[in-house]
């Protein structure tokens, strides 16, 4: 298990910081945004138990994220909002 997992982790680093063809570079530049969106969607798990509380908490947290652009503040306020929505729902 460990070997297989490590193989997936090291494989991507083969490029060693060199630049790759333009199309690949453009593709890789899109990966972070796509990855964050996918991971966000996975964590929100819309439709499963408690997703209403998550969605309702995520909305004000999104405002905080866009307005202040500080990760720790988004996390702290988000958890507070979530605690509130869990109490209410």
């Amino acid at each position: 298990m460990a070997v297989v997992t490590y193989a997936t982790r090291i494989a991507g680093f083969a490029a060693q910081g060199r630049t790759l063809p333009d199309a690949i570079e453009r593709f890789l530049a899109c990966v972070p945004i796509a990855a964050f969106a996918a991971l966000l969607a996975t964590g929100m798990d819309v439709g499963s138990a408690g997703s209403d509380a998550r969605i309702l908490a995520a909305i004000p947290a999104a405002f905080v994220a866009l307005r202040f652009r500080k990760l720790w503040l988004t996390l702290a306020s988000g958890m507070v909002f979530y605690w509130i929505t869990n109490l209410v729902l």
Binding site: I10, G12, F36, A37, T74
Partner: protein, 246 residues
Amino acid sequence: MERDTTLTSRALDPDTTTRPDTYATGVRAGLVTVGPLLLAVSPFSVAMAVAAHTAGFNPLETVMMSAFVFAGAAQMAAISLYAGGAGILTIVLTTLLINLRHIIYGLSLDRHLPVDARPPRPVLAFLLIDESYGLAVAHRAPKTRPDAFYLGVSLGMYVTFVLFTGLGAIFASLIPEIDRIGLDFIFPLVFMGLLLPLLSGARKIAIALVSGALTMILLQVLDPGVAILLAILGGATIGTMWKENS
């Protein structure tokens, strides 16, 4: 064509490799940034250790799995499969599928690290997970070395993960059903906090929407690891093909 330079290779920027006194600062910054996440990782690690105990793993096996594999989702899947009587081949294949997205992370993160990354790439690669990738790739502070920052984040996660797996495994028989008080919510919060500031322009919003929608659809029929991988590929492809009017 105006090239989007927001995520250009930092390996090409000489400043990041000629400031030897910022390595410790970078590690510290990484540790500080990952701090809030560790609050959620600890109960997850404990819960996973309890699940492992229930499935029949002894504490040493459980801790070693965390120490050598260091992949929560894959470990949970492996534990469930093992408990269900699955064979070793199934478990290994499932682990591979769940972790395939690490290849994309490696490719994407590689250009952000200096050519002479300390510790070297093979070591950094071992610690690669969703959160360390996310935090490292989004980190913008010009003074800190990205490899030092990544190390700080990763060490925080790794030590917490293994430590709490151990604690959970040791006390597994004494703990009733774990109530994680919804601390898991911090994970989607992190990725939302990383995502939103990046969404400037229609193309980037489109990437996020496509990837998010694909994820939600695919989660209905596929394992999360595979769903995430395919959604990333889909979203990034849309972004690559998108014609910008600039």
